[in-house]
Amino acid sequence: MREPTYFILTALLDGPLHGYAIISQVAQLSSGRVRLAAGTLYAALDRLTAEGMLRVVKEEIVSGRARRYYGVTEPGTVAVRAEADRMAAAAALVTHRRRPIVATAVMAV
């Protein structure tokens, strides 16, 4: 799972959001590191909806334009949780080390 996908699913764990709110939430969750462009966001939303991880839960008209709210589905929560577990296991390899880390000194020749 790519990072933007992971953050989009995570942003929706608290409830359905619309496009701009997802972008803001993802930026906040990643401390401003993941800044989604609209083209990237909608490509991901289309793909995740087609895969059944997301679902359009509400549609309203705001200043003459359609606004859709996306919510994470059961398979979506399973997938994001599995990804979180995988990353946690990978992180534990470094953070839960018993033995000291042996750093090789950088020597000027």
Partner: protein, 302 residues
């Protein structure tokens, strides 16, 4: 300038960028994406470069996916329509060249009048054929053809040349009848009128022998571009098939009416036949292969 003004300007600029997406997709999603963009870029006058780049790549990816999901039947049906319209555009070149020749040769006024009438009628034929009104197009095309033949009879040109000029509309009419019977739905007219303008621009160098190679190079370039588009849209290379078919018929008539060395005949027919085969293999062939080789894993990855 007021804020309202800059907002509508920005919206118009973003709407233009959204043309990167297929039309069916735009119909259902453009408003929603535009709403989000306007929220992101509040107060800007020009689209942000990174947003513009994301829209262009997103649009291209959506087009590639739409192409893969298109059923082969539709590829063939639309491909046939594209090929016939391209053949019609190629047919329209003849009266265009005729007008040019008429004006430079200080030909009789009637020649210019008939050539101009034929050009107008056949341009109208292309416009209505693109919109899906094939029977009307057949009528306009036939009238244009009659104008050319009449002009040639009046000015006592040789019949070989008359047949050369008049054969391409006949090819186009046969194709239009097929489209009308199969009830192939129409689309927009402007891409076809743009193709016509491109072909006319390409034909200008061929009036002079010394620049004829430039015309060949331009045509080859156009063909190469159409073949490359097969990745994004399998139906587009079929335009090349139509152009090649139009040229094939014209070349056959030239060969019948003027003595030519055998090597020239072989290379001319060989090039056209190779190009015809290439467009059919690269367009629908590549499409069929990609549909077969694409599994659900393709979409789950990433």
């Amino acid at each position: 300038m007021t804020t309202m003004d800059s907002a509508t300007r920005l919206e118009r600029r973003y709407r233009r960028l959204l043309w990167a997406y297929p039309r069916e997709y735009r119909k259902s999603r453009a408003d929603e994406i535009l709403g989000t963009l306007m929220e992101i870029d509040e107060g800007r006058r020009w689209p942000a470069p990174r947003e513009a780049a994301a829209l262009l790549t997103g649009g291209l990816r959506t087009r590639i996916r739409a192409n893969r999901e298109r059923p082969p039947r539709q590829v063939w049906r639309d491909g046939l329509r594209f090929a016939v319209l391209a053949a019609l555009a190629a047919a329209l070149l003849q009266p265009f060249i005729d007008v040019e020749v008429s004006f430079t040769d200080a030909a009789p006024v009637q020649d210019r009048v008939f050539a101009a009438i034929a050009m107008l009628l056949t341009t109208a034929a292309l416009a209505v054929a693109a919109r899906g009104r094939y029977w009307l197009a057949i009528g306009a095309c036939a009238a244009g053809w009659a104008a050319i033949v009449t002009s040639f009879q009046l000015s006592e040109h040789n019949w070989g040349a008359a047949a050369f000029i008049a054969v391409e509309p006949v090819v186009a009419i046969v194709g239009l009848i097929v489209l009308a019977i199969r009830r192939v739905p129409g689309g927009r007219a402007w891409p076809w009128l743009a193709l016509l303008a491109l072909l006319c621009a390409e034909a200008i160098p061929s009036f002079h022998l010394e620049t004829r190679y430039l015309a060949v190079a331009l045509r080859t370039g156009l063909a190469a571009i159409l073949l490359l588009t097969a990745v994004v849209d399998a139906r587009l290379p079929m335009i090349g098939t139509g152009l090649a078919t139009g040229m094939l018929f014209a070349q056959t008539i030239v060969m019948l009416s003027t003595p030519m060395p055998a090597s020239d005949v072989v290379s001319m027919l060989g090039t056209t036949a190779a190009y015809l085969a290439l467009t059919l293999v690269v367009g629908p062939g590549l499409h069929a292969w990609r549909r077969r080789s694409s599994t659900p894993d393709d979409t789950v990855a990433a």
